[in-house]
């Protein structure tokens, strides 16, 4: 039963309860923060911060609009990070979360390069760093408990449930609230679909969402190459042996020719 979350940005009041709940449940420390001129704090996710609320100011019809955007790992249905990890440290669980087994990780950081949402963060300050990112509270989900951030949300911004139900709810809200919501469910198609999906009254591009994310799953891009290898092996081998045989016969003939 894959779980999913709908983030209805129209309901968020920017209390950051989710951010605090995440920090305490996952026992994350703190890092020295940087003033960014907004209330967004820390300005970006980092190895100690799995989720934050981005405060974004936009205007709609000359009126200022303040939006509060939760970011965290989106837990793709077919995650690029899982497919690129050379040691299977990253895995997609049947319940939905993309989990990370630090003991396997060699620290190549290919997951960070591959993630279309730039989510995995690294413990750069440590001598033997590991990757850090939102776990979707995988162990809570396994025990049938709601993830920490969702449990804390006081306004119903975060709705947790079965994937089909959540997507249907997102579609219904966008459909019913025409004019209120932009006609786009972020995460429905992005990177082939994600467990966390967003609906919003402000265009996602204005809120700093990454709009260049391909609307298809990413792992087939590399699998198309890897799956050809079993055919390349006999091909090159046959070419090599054939060339060796033909050129050798020629050499022998040239040597023995005048006889």
């Amino acid at each position: 039963m894959p779980k999913s979350v709908l983030v209805d940005l129209t309901r968020c009041i920017g209390c950051r309860g989710c951010q605090v709940a995440c920090k305490s449940w996952n026992e994350r420390g703190v890092k020295k923060t940087v003033e960014s001129g907004t209330f967004t704090n820390p300005p970006d996710l980092n190895s100690e911060c799995y989720t934050n609320i981005r405060f974004v100011e936009t205007t709609q019809g000359n009126k200022p609009v303040w939006s509060f955007v939760k970011s965290q790992c989106l837990h793709c249905h077919d995650p690029a990070c899982v497919s690129v990890c050379p040691v299977a440290a990253l895995r997609k669980t049947p319940e939905g979360p993309v989990t990370y087994e630090a003991e396997r990780c060699i620290g190549c950081r290919y997951c960070m390069l591959a993630c279309p949402f730039q989510i995995p963060k690294y413990e750069w300050e440590k001598l033997l760093p590991i990757v850090q990112k939102c776990t979707f509270c995988a162990e809570r989900i396994k025990d049938g408990v709601t993830p920490a951030c969702i449990k804390t949300c006081p306004t119903g911004t975060l709705v947790y449930g079965e994937r089909e139900d959540i997507l249907a709810m997102a579609k219904a809200r966008v459909e019913k609230g025409k004019g209120k919501y932009v006609p786009h469910i972020y995460g429905e198609k992005e990177a082939g679909g994600t467990s966390w999906i967003y609906v919003s009254a402000v265009p996602f591009a204005d809120l700093g969402f990454r709009m260049q994310v391909p609307l298809h799953a990413l792992p087939p891009l590399t699998w198309n190459y890897i799956s050809q290898i079993p055919y390349i092996i006999p091909g090159v081998f046959a070419f090599g042996v054939g060339s060796w045989y033909v050129t050798r016969r020629k050499e022998v003939q040239e040597k023995e020719g005048p006889r």
Partner: protein, 379 residues
Amino acid sequence: MKQSDIKTWTPGTILLAVFMLLGGAAALYRLGAGLGATTNLGDSFPWGMWLGVDVLGGVAMAAGGFMIASLVYVFHLEKYRPVVRPAILTAFLGYLLAIVALLLDIGQPHRLWHPAIMWQVHSVMWVVGIHVILYTTTLALEFSPMLFERLGMTGASRAVYRIMVPVVIFGALLSVLHQSSLGAVFLISEGRMSPLWYSPEIPKLFLVSAMMMGLSMVSLETMISSRAFEHEVDPGIFSGLARMSLWVIGFYFIYKLYALVAGPGIGAAFAGSTEANMYLLEMIIGVVLPFVLLIGKGARERMGTIRIVNILVISGVMLNRLNVSIFGLYRDQASGGAKYFPSLVEFVLSIALVSFAIFCFKMAAKHLPLLDSGTEAKH
């Protein structure tokens, strides 16, 4: 010049040794203080100079090894036998360079071996890792007769030569797969990498450009070592390599144009952006100029021309690797406001690794039967 006449400590070698000492210190500093303290990498720039220059460049420059070995052992082109040993040594050094860089670049160096037992066949990086392990072993085997002969172990040397043909074919297979899989690493960056470089053809483009670089590396290093060590080389080898280069460069030229037309279109290369200019620079240095220089009548007989072409091709392919791994992704990675320019430690270590490779080559020329191939001709 006899081998024993090669002087170990020339001003050039002393400079190399200084770089190597500095690099050793940089490596220890990196291991003792961590990646964050010693490099300018960060969450927005997980990969930097060590990956772009040392890993991608080191592996690309190694392509000459499998090509020359194939020409001699598989295609029976005896003419190239005098350069087969330097070519194999260069490949071996290129891979060692890449491995050392990789070891220092990954966050958990003591777990470098994990991919060997923790298989994940869906990962290009796993494919790359397995190839590095297998091919470096193969290269060590191809290189071993030089050592055996030096140690007077002719029996061991002869035993290796008895299986050399299958070993070389196996090595060529691994190289074809490894060069292309290094390009395939970047297939996952659709939407992030500039379309000037992002292409479904990138694995094959990596393979062909590595072949260009491999031929030029062998040609250039043979030129330099024949002059430095006063060692006669048949000029036919250089013109033969140049003729092959012309074919490969010509093919690559057409292939790159195809990738450009099928991708963002010709216009994208002339958009005036940093990416477009880097793309033009890479193409002019590494492809257009070498092609034009080589195509002229008699050009492939003139040593001066061939030398310039070699330098252009090597620089152009290096630039391509930098463009793919750094400049092509820069705009996207910097979108959050972060910047990347390699730190002093990153520079020092990269220079030291190249110095180490040159130093090893020179020491091999002095102490190993590298430049004379007489002993192996009849095995």
